[in-house]
Symmetry: C2
Subunit: 366 residues, 2 copies
């Protein structure tokens, strides 16, 4: 498939049913489909608190961008988690059409689509630059759309945190022994890996992390990275700030669109939704680069946060277990297999290039 044709109904795999009533995509640009004055008022539900830095603000940026590009013909009202539906019901709301759009993360929908977690973050996996290349150039986005298509939802990347941190700890981790019985909050693949390594993993909402750390209910927790972690004040509840963020070398944020509603848009508004997602995808990564840099400086220089690196013995074990978990997940479902094989093949090639390129430059410069 020519991946640039994701902008067409056919390219989005919208199929014959959806095309009924839609303009023929082969007609030349310049002929508006639908009445020029037709205006759309859409709802976007999100998994984030109101205007949450980086996450909620990125959802809002997408909405604002679409309004500007469409001259108001497509206006989007953004709902924080719980305002229209709870955080973990965003996918269902979009699937059913309760909301036309959602902004969330794919790894919440493991129960709806077994392959979904691959599209957010893979332990020891690809970073933001590599994930974007796989999604847009390596067949990744087509596979993601294939995963959601039976549920009537179209996904698009719409933000990325970049590399995360391994988390906040009240116990030092000097060896694998220190993981045994460690009570740690970590969701997704990462939590599964830690559990197999001997830790006791829990999955708490972000809002409960601070108190649980402070009261000792948990010994440790991940959250995101300096920007969001500073905002939660986690340095007041935990002693050590560990890196590297092995469990999330990046985290892709997800825009979901109701497939039928997307098909019913005039061509230019559909193009606006797709392109605004892509520019927003970059905008969030830019923001996180700047904000993480500033927040790290604050954490270390104003709050005396103690940085620690996880020992190689621990990282090696986590890497091995991650390989097992990912391979078992791939074996669960033919589509999972397709996704994991595609990711691994792409990653192998781009890693060999980055060894001479991006990585070699970090080695050279620091």
């Amino acid at each position: 498939m020519d991946r640039r044709n994701l902008l067409t109904a056919a390219g989005l795999g919208l199929g014959a049913v959806a095309l009924a009533g839609c303009k023929d995509d082969s007609a030349p640009a310049g002929e508006a489909s639908g009445a020029p004055e037709q205006r759309f008022r859409w709802k976007m539900v999100t998994s984030w608190p109101e205007n949450f830095p980086g996450l909620g603000t990125t959802a809002q940026r997408f909405a604002d961008t679409v309004a500007r590009l469409s001259n108001g013909r497509l206006s989007i009202q953004v709902f924080a988690a719980g305002a229209l539906v709870p955080a973990l019901e965003v996918f269902d709301a979009v699937s059913s059409g309760t909301a036309e759009l959602g902004h969330s993360a794919a790894y919440y929908w493991k129960g709806k689509s077994a392959a979904a977690p691959f599209f957010t973050a893979v332990p020891f996996g690809m970073n933001a630059q590599e994930m974007n290349a796989w999604l847009y150039e390596g067949g990744g986005l087509e596979l993601w759309q294939k995963a959601y298509d039976p549920l009537g939802v179209v996904p698009l990347p719409c933000g990325n945190t970049g590399v995360q941190m391994a988390g906040w700890f009240n116990k030092e981790i000097n060896s694998l022994d220190d993981l045994q019985g460690l009570k740690i909050r970590m969701p997704g693949f990462g939590g599964e890996v830690l559990a197999r390594a001997g830790a006791t993993t829990v999955n708490l909402p972000g809002s409960e992390i601070f108190t649980s750390l402070q009261t000792g209910v948990i010994d440790a927790s991940d959250w995101v990275s300096p920007y969001n972690d500073l905002a939660f004040g986690l340095y007041q509840a935990a002693k050590y700030y560990y890196y590297p963020g092995w469990q999330e070398p990046c985290a892709v944020l997800e825009l979901t669109v109701n497939k039928q509603k997307l098909a019913e848009l005039p061509d230019d508004l559909r193009a606006i939704v797709i392109e605004a997602a892509r520019s927003t995808n970059q905008a969030m990564l830019d923001e996180y680069g700047r904000r993480n840099a500033e927040a790290l400086h604050t954490l270390v220089n104003e709050h005396g946060v103690q940085l620690r690196r996880l020992p190689d013995s621990v990282l090696d074990r986590l890497r091995d277990i991650s390989g097992d978990v990912l391979e078992e997940t791939a074996a669960m479902d033919p589509l999972n297999r397709e996704v994991w094989d595609s990711m691994q093949a792409f990653r192998e090639r781009i890693q060999a290039w980055h060894a001479l390129g991006e990585k070699a430059m970090y080695d050279l410069r620091g």
Copy 2:
């Protein structure tokens, strides 16, 4: 300045003169400025051969994206180098209004704006992810716009190659001695640095590199990275393929827009130009990630290309000289000083974050 307001005439620094006749930016979205049927047919001149992979194709992608988003209201005709104006006259064409748009690289315009080379690539400097963060979040884009404003041109990032390679060599470089008298094609800051290190640098157009290498007129040349280098067949003209690309840790591609023409657009079309540049900025980096990975595999496995790493003794010397060249360039002009200080301050902070983040992940994974 709220950097998100680059979408407004005021945010773009278009000023009072440009606003004459423009819609008031404070009016709510939804009120079209200008007649809805007003259509624009713009010209884009570029520094690239017709449909040149990655470079010319990126210019075309931008034009196609704008046409789709605007429903044909803003159509852009793309001209290869020489078709309307020569490659190195793109800036003047946009400045004078001969063409409304240009797609090129800022480091060609050193003679017009002393700070321009900073906005393409800095030896031992920031990579693509860091440059994007500096440009969009760290004040970089405002400084770039300040540099070009007296010439009536507005710049926007519109593509990035990612890290490049150090070049194709017919002599091995094992020590600083091997640089003495080496005849090498390399433009920009990199060429200046090599010259001070003892090499004889020349600046040839891309189209002359192959023959010059093959006939021994030059001993070595940079070009870009595996994707574009494979297309030029350079492996047939040189023995060794050196890395890391110290001279261009990334290369920002530049969209230039005639300031008056940009101001005269209706708000939504101006927003489309700006946002399409941003999504295209990411699209090119995605493409280069994938294509470089594939091309490197081909070069090594099908053409037996010999990869070599420049020795640390050479890289250390090039790094020292680069520092001198950049500092001297900064001292030439108050705006240069502002740009270089801004870059260094931003880079220091983001480098400290990436040491725990992106770099730490490359160290962990490979």
